[in-house]
Subunit: 222 residues, 2 copies
Amino acid sequence: MIKLEKVEKIYQRGSERVRALKGIDLEIERGEFLSIVGPSGSGKTTLLHILGCLDTPTSGIVRLDGIDIETMPEKELVKIRREKIGYIFQQFYLIPGLTVYENVSLPLTFSRKERNRSEIENLIEMVGLKDRINHKPNQLSGGEMQRTAIARALVNNPEFILADEPTGNLDSENAEMIFELLKSLHNKGISIILITHNPDLAQRTERIIKLKDGIIESDQMV
Amino acid sequence: MIKLEKVEKIYQRGSERVRALKGIDLEIERGEFLSIVGPSGSGKTTLLHILGCLDTPTSGIVRLDGIDIETMPEKELVKIRREKIGYIFQQFYLIPGLTVYENVSLPLTFSRKERNRSEIENLIEMVGLKDRINHKPNQLSGGEMQRTAIARALVNNPEFILADEPTGNLDSENAEMIFELLKSLHNKGISIILITHNPDLAQRTERIIKLKDGIIESDQMV
Ligand SMILES: Nc1ncnc2c1ncn2[C@@H]1O[C@H](COP(=O)(O)OP(=O)(O)OP(=O)(O)O)[C@@H](O)[C@H]1O
Ligand SMILES: Nc1ncnc2c1ncn2[C@@H]1O[C@H](COP(=O)(O)OP(=O)(O)OP(=O)(O)O)[C@@H](O)[C@H]1O
Ligand SMILES: [Mg+2]
Ligand SMILES: [Mg+2]
């Protein structure tokens, strides 16, 4: 369970202060499938990074299963990030010199988990990239890069998937395939936090958190 | 006027041959507002790069106002790319060390055109980034980066705008603002070629070209 208490994120640039998050109170239970929506620049990616322990708030508390993450040893946080959470980044962040197969396999080298070759190929096939398995990122289309990032997020069998606009570069058919994949993972008990600009997809999750100018404007069950 | 005759684009990777475009015949008049749609990997970005003279076909002919671009001196092609065409890339390609203002102004250093400070600020305001004008790309949200790339494509007052999924990272309100901006430019006589995964936006252009597996599946007036 993740709990945010009065979380603020402020970026200081010289004399300018950007308040990306202004006092967020939020509780997310295990097994939820929720979406975060809101205008460009409203703080969604910032919020997701804090929920995923990739970033710390400027003020306020983040609790994992009741424990303030500030009191957790770094080793513990690293273990959580590597083994329990799968991230799909808005900018993908694929490694240029590695193939689709190698990019997807990369998290395995950091976690203690093992997957054999055919399991990884199966994952790559699930996102429709079987014919691109040996391509490098500069030999892929935008949507193919996005799908590589999606497969990579799943290779560790994570308990949480944090997905930042995973269908932004996909046509409706591929977007549907990815959403169905997320739903099936949710049915197996995985918690999913999805940032999306697609209102139809948001409506098909269980709870919608609307951000606006760094605050939660509404938080509703669908 | 752009004319493609039997255009093919083949990527050879070792023994593997990827036929990204398989025989494209296409004629686009000045002043058109057309969209290119199709599944991820169907060849849209490849087609746009060839239409914009950023890439050459493996076979087939590209004519600009009747002239085969293979017979054009490189200087002429460079002039066209820099002065006549504004590109919005699917991956943005902003320069990391430069601010929004500097990134937007960059094409001016390559073309002979001049714009004064307030004209550039006006353009940045038109895409809603007035408050981010001094931010660098790593201090911007995904949609803010996308809007910076959009403003940059317009700074040279181009005759053609080639836009590769310019609203993929934008909420519906910002997407609408960008589409309205493109429409107003079209009303001033600028030709617009828009790749989009958003069927509603495609329906609001004048002509839709549907790609599938590297061929034109259909080419219809809206
Ligand atoms: N350098 C390359 N080498 C090999 N294959 C490539 C290369 N560049 C692109 N491709 C392949 O060509 C096909 C067409 O790519 P393109 O970028 O045009 O697709 P797209 O329609 O824009 O897709 P998307 O909607 O995902 O952006 C893709 O399947 C891609 O894997
Ligand atoms: N390092 C930084 N320095 C200053 N401001 C920043 C920095 N990083 C992000 N911001 C600002 O914080 C705000 C929130 O950014 P965030 O990436 O969370 O937005 P978002 O809701 O994900 O937007 P989008 O839908 O465009 O992806 C933005 O307005 C952005 O300009
Ligand atoms: Mg974002
Ligand atoms: Mg593309």
